[in-house]
Symmetry: C2
Subunit: 154 residues, 2 copies
């Protein structure tokens, strides 16, 4: 009634129009993604798919995530430890700030990133992918508490 094409139908058509295929495994992941929001790791997505279809295979999920990323449906970044984190339907593109001492994380929104993005664009012609940015360091509390960056105890 409201919209004649469900999210699944839209994706199915976008895949088909590119010669790609609509499979049960992809449908499962889409269902999971529709129920998710914010940040999720790849491993979590695999688990959630398994909750729907226990036969889910990690490689299939990761390969499908690659496809969905090409389509702009998800974006991945990396936590401070380098592990993947997926942004699912973020309200707006953003990066992350991570405190190495307390483990806190904060989002870097587009406004805050403007300076950075513009300076790389102007000085280098480099287009920053903000969603892939994770800046590690010490938050205000931790740095004023005298905590150290890993490696600054020289």
């Amino acid at each position: 009634m409201m919209s004649s094409a469900s999210s699944a139908e839209q994706l199915r058509d976008r895949l088909r129009s590119r010669g790609l295929r609509w499979t049960p495994q992809r449908r499962t992941l889409l269902v999971v993604l529709e129920a998710a929001q914010g940040h999720v790791t790849g491993a979590e997505l695999v688990e959630r798919c398994r909750a729907i279809d226990p036969a889910t295979t990690p490689s299939t999920v990761y390969r499908t995530l690659d496809v969905l990323e090409d389509l702009g449906i998800v974006q991945h970044g990396h936590g401070a430890d380098g592990r993947e984190e997926f942004h699912v339907r973020p309200e707006q593109e953003h990066g992350h700030l991570h405190c190495a001492a307390c483990g806190g994380t904060w989002e870097i929104d587009e406004r805050e990133a403007t300076t950075i993005v513009n300076s790389f664009r102007e000085e280098r012609g480099f287009e920053v992918d903000l969603s892939h940015v994770t800046v590690v360091g010490l938050c205000r509390e931790c740095s004023s508490a005298g905590n150290q960056q890993p490696g600054s105890s020289a």
Copy 2:
């Protein structure tokens, strides 16, 4: 003659003064690091240690790298894929820029990072660890050639 304490002796004494120990495995890694420069992955360091001592175990190498990082002797960052990369005696602290299309990488030196570092410090009180920064996006050539960020094909 020139300096009475070799690099190994210096490290040995720093470890002992902290109640830590000077072991053959650590000596092997030190030898490898002294022969290295620039960027090396953890896996490469393991291989190079094995070239000296085939009995080298990965966990020992990684644990020793943690210790050396605490001492400020190495610093790690992450490549665009999240894998560890160690900075061995960098001439100066720096971050990295990585083009998602051509795979090119460039260093972000302290001068170039000043704007970023200062803006996080002033707006957030956050102290950025520049050596841990990897910014991914599109370089000038790739972005003007119309290449796409992964995920911008929506």
